[in-house]
Amino acid sequence: MFGKSKTVDTSQDLKNQPVPEGHHLLEVDDLKMYFHTEDGVVRAVDGVSYTLDRGETLGVVGESGSGKSVTHMTMMGLIPMPPGKIEGGSVFYRGHDLLNMPEAQMQHVRGNDIAMIFQDPMTSLNPVYKIGKQVGEGLRLHRGYSKEQALKRAVELLDAVGIPEPEKRVNEYPHQFSGGMRQRVMIAMALACDPDILIADEPTTALDVTIQAQIIELMQEMQEKNGNAIVMITHDLGVVADIADKIMVMYAGRPVEFGTADEIFYESRHPYTWGLIRSIPEQATDEKKPLTPIHGNPPALSNLPKGCVFSPRCPYATDKCRAERPERFETGTGHYAACHYAGDADFIKKNAPDTSRSRKVSVAMLDQEETKGGEA
């Protein structure tokens, strides 16, 4: 490592430059990244688009293998190319093209402007180095801190993420930490350089249920303090329900629906989103209602079905679905759904889950009518 501290001009950091007029903090447009393997082309990321602003939280939801993680690894330049290859689209961060950035500059973006937390805290920390060294490493790299400065800051960071006795803990090794504590370390490590965007790749999946809420709360707390944006990747719609401003639902490498959290939960227009909503276990119901799963498995990305990728599992699929890839139906508020019938009000009213407003209205009316009928 570097011996002494050196002065690093942080004013040149992208995160300290203004977002250009007419741009968002992060703009992903029609991003496509395919893996070229011996078994053929795997369309891992197939036309992902979204925008994100400072202080916002985006939830990215989908089953395993739906391309949630790969999309963001692609944006960070963490996918080895080959076998990966960008097939189209763009990613702009504060107006800078991330996909065509020179590797040296990209390294400065990673960890400094955009940081990432990974799913499994048990294996994501290097087992042979002390926690303090690992947390402070980014600061030494991006800010030119000396060993002592970095360690001092690491103590403060561990304290901030709620690790007791941080002065002692910085000198311990990862295996001496519990899973929840390690994920706190990962968060401290990711937030060390005050990144603009924090990408959390299933940060709670490997954790105890009781710890999950703590970690989510911690990330929100840090967001309030630092004003960073969060991309929360999860397969659990329930996890993002409370914290996400926007939600992107992905399926087989494609975004099938995107909108505000409100729009996704109450005005969703895609049968896959409905399936996810129906699979959330309901609390506080007296009657034991069986969950409604989405039957079948996601398709192999190297052998996608013709037409709509969800059609083989969609209960409402028609011949049109099986033949033509659906265009995005946009509502005008930024909300879109990739379904042939997303614009069909009757279809949605009939099939949307109970949470849907369009549905609720009709159910409520029915209830009233029933009550009236009972009284009469």
Partner: protein, 346 residues
Amino acid sequence: MLKYILKRVLQFIPVFLGVTIILFAMENIVPGDPIKLMAGEKKLDPQTEINLRASFHLIQTDADGNPIYDENGDTIETPMWERCALYVNGLLHGDLGISYQRKGQAVADILGAKYPYTFKLAVVAIVLEAVVGIGAGLVSAIKRYSFWDVFVTLTTSILVAMPAFWLGMLLQLFFGVYLKDWTGGAFYLPISADFSPSAVFDEGMYYILPAITLASVSTAYAARIMRSQLLEVMNQDYIRTARAKGLSGRQVIWRHALKNAMIPVVTYIGNDFGAMMAGAILTETVFNWPGVGYETYRAINQRDWPIVLGSVTVIVILVMVINLLVDISYAFLDPRIRYGAPKDEA
């Protein structure tokens, strides 16, 4: 940690006793009488033979060392277990016994004179193994599927398959015979007993070919272990974390991957050093190297059991001590072992 070391040292005892018993048993099985061999072609005078046997405790003696005879006037052979006990007793007093064939020289003195050569050769070979093995493994892992990777993979396959003594002979043939004009035929010559001070550089030259021969197979293995370990470590989650932090590819390898990948390689090379200290019988014989391996080979041919016993005893102890040191060093490389050991041992 101390408890662990103590436990390991105590484990030395049964291993050591087992090896000694096996050696004594083999001594009885292998044909050839060392006392008769002492006289070579000539026939020994019967009384001299009895006296010799008595002096080596091969037959029962009284307190003054005179042979005891049974009712038929024959000598009584000392049972194996008794000789074994005598040997262990001598060993506990620091006495390795007396050579049969080398005119009453103490085994300890003979081995003491041979060990520096074995040790120096082992050090040269192990440095060669560490530098070339780790280096080649690194190159082939970092430049995976490149020309160098293919080259290393091919070369190591050949070296692993090639018997060390044959490689030694080929090297001698090439440097000593084909390149005679350049080397003066000296590359393969054995070390002479007396080095003149002016021959310091030349002395170093004598180590090269035997060291290459001795290190060849294990260097190939070390390179392969290094390659596979580094490739495996590069797939670990913490490597992805390091890259996401903004480290360059080179920094990721040197700061995060190498230390993890090195742990098994260091263990392998360390244990290999133990094996080399055992004296490389084949290499030393091919190069007439005046080390323990060659001496053991010679002693086996001449049924000079005290030397065989003595050298094997020293080898067993050395190998066990080096293995223990390697295990301890493991704990310094891997904190999981350092801190986990006391709990796991309990």
